[in-house]
Symmetry: C2
Subunit: 550 residues, 2 copies
């Protein structure tokens, strides 16, 4: 009904969009119904498979002025369906196994709508009321998942105004920045004759404590958000030190020690050691206990970036992979990754609930002293009540539900790894520890040759293989039946040559083994079309004398 | 249907929540229907009016462990309705005029559900596709609203990979931090023998350029997020300099000049001057043109925090209030404030599309060099497709629709100001420039006395009046019929004595004059109950010899 009444500018018409609901038989009403009754069907029907070139999509989003006149809701919705939804990414498709986004449980959609309708602002109690204790509760549960303190601990701290077990935020990047912000402010804390880095700034802090620079240490496979953090916090990207990894993409403690000693010898100070709890590219986990030991030894903040791997703590079977995470000073976990919550549910947790005092802020009109306003201890100000969706997911699925999803995803990754290893013309590059793995296409003949190639030969062959992998990944994505992502690694088995690989994340519970077989089949078909790239590879092989006599 | 099938842990049961929709007659199905058909009715029915004490609400959110077993969706939903929704804040009520959140247009709710169902991640094209040009389009339209460049400008820059007209983010705080991050990195940019602050850090930057410190200048009424920004960026809160304001809460240019000269004389460098485009507390706007002149004179970055006031640019009638904003290097605008979009739609805009190069980040697996991935130029990483809601609101309401809403809101504020001024026992403290105003309750006798009181007498009376204002505001909020917020100002007319005031924001288009009258009536009734506070005020009056002879 209302959708036809607007599109004229009068106060009366305008008020109607605030007071008259969309009719069930309106375009939007029908969309809602479709979403509610058959989300996958809706997405499958409306998202076109074959990829439209970006520059063509841009044509539809080229107007530079806010449109002068209003538009009918129905017309606008049609536009969105044809030009936005049609060319969005089917992130929940079980054949799209290249992202960390997955299918969502149905019940979260109506709850998300409820959240938007309530439109709470979590910065302060005044605009969020019960959402504030709810968010603190979610942080408490996640804190317990990591740190497993007893009930009295949570009774004491969970709802304490001056404390916080963590902070919810839009995503892992803000979570990592927040953790390192806290670490920086704690290290350069107020002291005799110094008001602290929060008040006086970083240069004054370094000077007061006599440090030439601060550094953040992380493996070479650390997430790029740490580089943003180093930049934002004034530490400098050069002072984010990338430590070499072993053949399973885990930080090498001997190299870490070497690097930290060098920092100290040069008059610097290690601010933080960051352990990776599931690298974004391969899902490998650093030796967290060893990192905790070493961080304690040199008095550095120990942060674990478990944005991806954190959910694994729900599994009795695989929890041990993250042993040592409970010794971290702070931990990042994204609920919108393997906790199956929609985008926008990042979290950082703090072992010690008083740590957040280091970043406490107050104002007259909000987050007054003594209030329980969440805004006092978060980097963000106004933000939505996403905590409700995390809370609901935790309750409806329960720890045992999550455990099952996580165990199944890791098992599936192991099966896929076996499947790949069994192919003549594919090669597993990194085996799954969590539900991530990487692999590439290598023609059988080349595979045989590579096994006995010397470093120089590997160096010359790799760019050709990289080009073929890139070609396959791009073409497969454009075709739109399935999607794997790609990245570049430096595998030990290939003498650290930069190697382009397919990257697969098997978090979607709806992905079947048949679908995985089809992904390989399609890649093989595309590879067969890469005539000129394969020709170049063949020529290189011949020049290297690696062609089997035929 | 599905809501009854879960609550047992088997793979089959678990998969059902991903594949079986909620039945229309389920608890969640009914909620959806209610939300779709009668949002205000739903909120009015489910949010209890009388406020429940926070500590009682906390009892329901005290469990510290992730529940072990799954729970029926219906049971969980009932729990949410009774314990969360019931005690949330009715932010869209037209009688709740103390927040910057307002009623939402109906069409945004189903669209929000669509956005969640699509679950795009805007960090990269790979997980957002058409959402990326759409977001760039929204930034372009807002950029045009502020800077009004010609079509060729937008054609050239809007979709350019290496450029960005701004950044969307969760809210104004992140927007302000991003703007100042860019400013800091531009000032301490790479030069001969220096790789730039982004790479080497803040201390090295200050040393290279020979500055003792950086400062950010803003009026005393600047938003507290700037203090967070100064802290996060390593500049230090003490280096956020609060400049005195005139009797309309606008920065005093003479005082600004004085403060900046002092910074320079001490070897510091003014990084940025921040103009306030609608103070949070009173809605006043700094003289932006004068600030632009002065910022240019001393070579400082000029940022305008128009988180609240930015939407006013839609109004031909009131746009002039922000004259000079088009000379800002960067501008913050929150679409979840007076642009009537749900929480989570902050934005920062940059005059020069190449400024964001100062904070550019890349990685192997996302935001590769040359890609149009938005994550290369934002502080946040993964984040949701909120831009779709802004885009839709801009199209369905159009500039002229917004103009009407904004004009009406300011007119309504002026009417309310007149209404207050006409009362014997209320007093307007700040008149509306935008749709914000502040006032307080002052018994008639005291009002008369105050008019001729000397500074010392004002000083002694004010705490009593403050206590009464606090009492009324708190009681009115608890009663739950209506809500105004409160803050503390230092009004020139009261010799800068800290004065507690009611703060009103009239953005909700559904608020009527009758409702405003009722708000005053209710406050008057509550004031009548504040016997002991009024007694103390009376005693003070007598001691001061201010009681009219009777």
């Amino acid at each position: 009904m209302s959708e036809q009444v607007f599109a004229e500018v009068s106060e009366e018409a305008l008020l109607k969009i605030f007071t008259l609901p969309e009719a069930p038989d309106s375009t939007l009403g029908k969309i809602e119904k479709d979403l509610s009754e058959n989300l996958m069907g809706f997405l499958g029907e409306h998202i076109v498979a074959r990829e439209k070139p970006l520059h063509e999509i841009e044509h539809n989003f080229a107007a530079s002025e806010v449109p002068e006149q209003p538009r009918y809701v129905s017309d606008h919705t049609e536009f969105l369906l044809n030009n936005l939804v049609a060319h969005s990414v089917h992130t929940s498709s079980p054949r799209f196994i290249g992202h960390m986004t997955s299918a969502l449980p149905y019940f979260l959609l109506p709850l998300a709508k409820l959240m938007v309708g309530l439109n709470q602002n979590l910065v302060k109690i005044e605009t969020s009321k019960a959402f504030t204790p709810l968010e603190r509760n979610v942080l408490g549960m996640l804190h317990h998942l990591v740190y497993q303190q007893d009930a009295s601990f949570y009774q004491r701290w969970m709802h304490s105004a001056q404390h916080s077990l963590g902070a919810m935020c839009s995503g892992g990047t803000v979570a990592n920045i927040t953790a390192l912000w806290v670490a920086r402010n704690l290290l350069l804390k107020p002291a005799q004759g110094f008001a602290g880095v929060a008040a006086e700034g970083l240069a004054a802090g370094l000077q007061h404590y006599g440090y030439k620079r601060l550094t953040i240490m992380v493996s070479e496979r650390g997430h790029y958000s740490l580089s943003k953090a180093a930049d934002v916090l004034g530490i400098g990207r050069q002072n984010l030190v990338g430590v070499p990894t072993d053949d399973r993409n885990r930080i090498r403690i001997d190299k870490l020690r070497e690097a930290c000693e060098k920092v100290a010898a040069d008059g610097g100070r290690v601010l933080a050691i960051v352990g990776v709890g599931g690298t974004t590219e391969t899902g490998h986990i650093d030796p967290l206990n060893e990192l905790a030991d070493y961080a304690a030894e040199i008095g550095a903040h120990f942060h674990v970036d478990a944005a991806w791997g954190g959910a694994t703590l729900m599994s009795d079977k695989y929890r041990h992979l993250l042993d040592g995470v409970e010794r971290a000073d702070s931990v990042t976990i994204d609920a919108h990754k393997q906790m199956y919550v929609p985008m926008g549910a990042g979290m950082v947790l703090f072992r010690d609930p008083s740590m957040v005092r280091a970043i406490e802020h107050h104002a007259e009109y909000v987050i007054r002293h003594g209030s329980k306003d969440l805004g006092a201890h978060t980097m963000e100000g106004s933000r939505p009540g996403m905590a409700m969706l995390v809370y609901s997911a935790l309750h409806v699925m329960g720890r045992r539900g999550y455990e099952l999803l996580i165990d199944k995803s890791i098992d599936k990754a192991k099966q896929f790894a076996e499947l790949i290893a069994a192919q003549d013309d594919f090669e597993l590059v990194t085996a799954p520890e969590l539900c991530l793995l990487t692999y590439r296409f290598v023609p059988q003949q080349v595979k045989v040759a590579l096994a006995q190639a010397n470093p120089e030969q590997v160096k010359r062959l790799t760019p050709h293989l990289n080009a073929i992998t890139r070609f396959i990944q791009k073409r497969q994505r454009e075709t739109g039946r399935s999607f794997v992502s790609r990245t570049k690694l430096n595998p030990a088995q290939y003498h650290r040559e930069p190697t382009v690989v397919f990257r697969v994340v098997l978090a979607n519970p709806l992905t079947t083994t048949e679908m995985l077989q089809e992904v390989l089949e399609e890649q093989r078909e595309i590879a067969a079309q890469a005539m000129s790239l394969r020709g170049a590879l063949h020529t290189e092989m011949r020049e290297l004398g690696l062609l089997a006599r035929s």
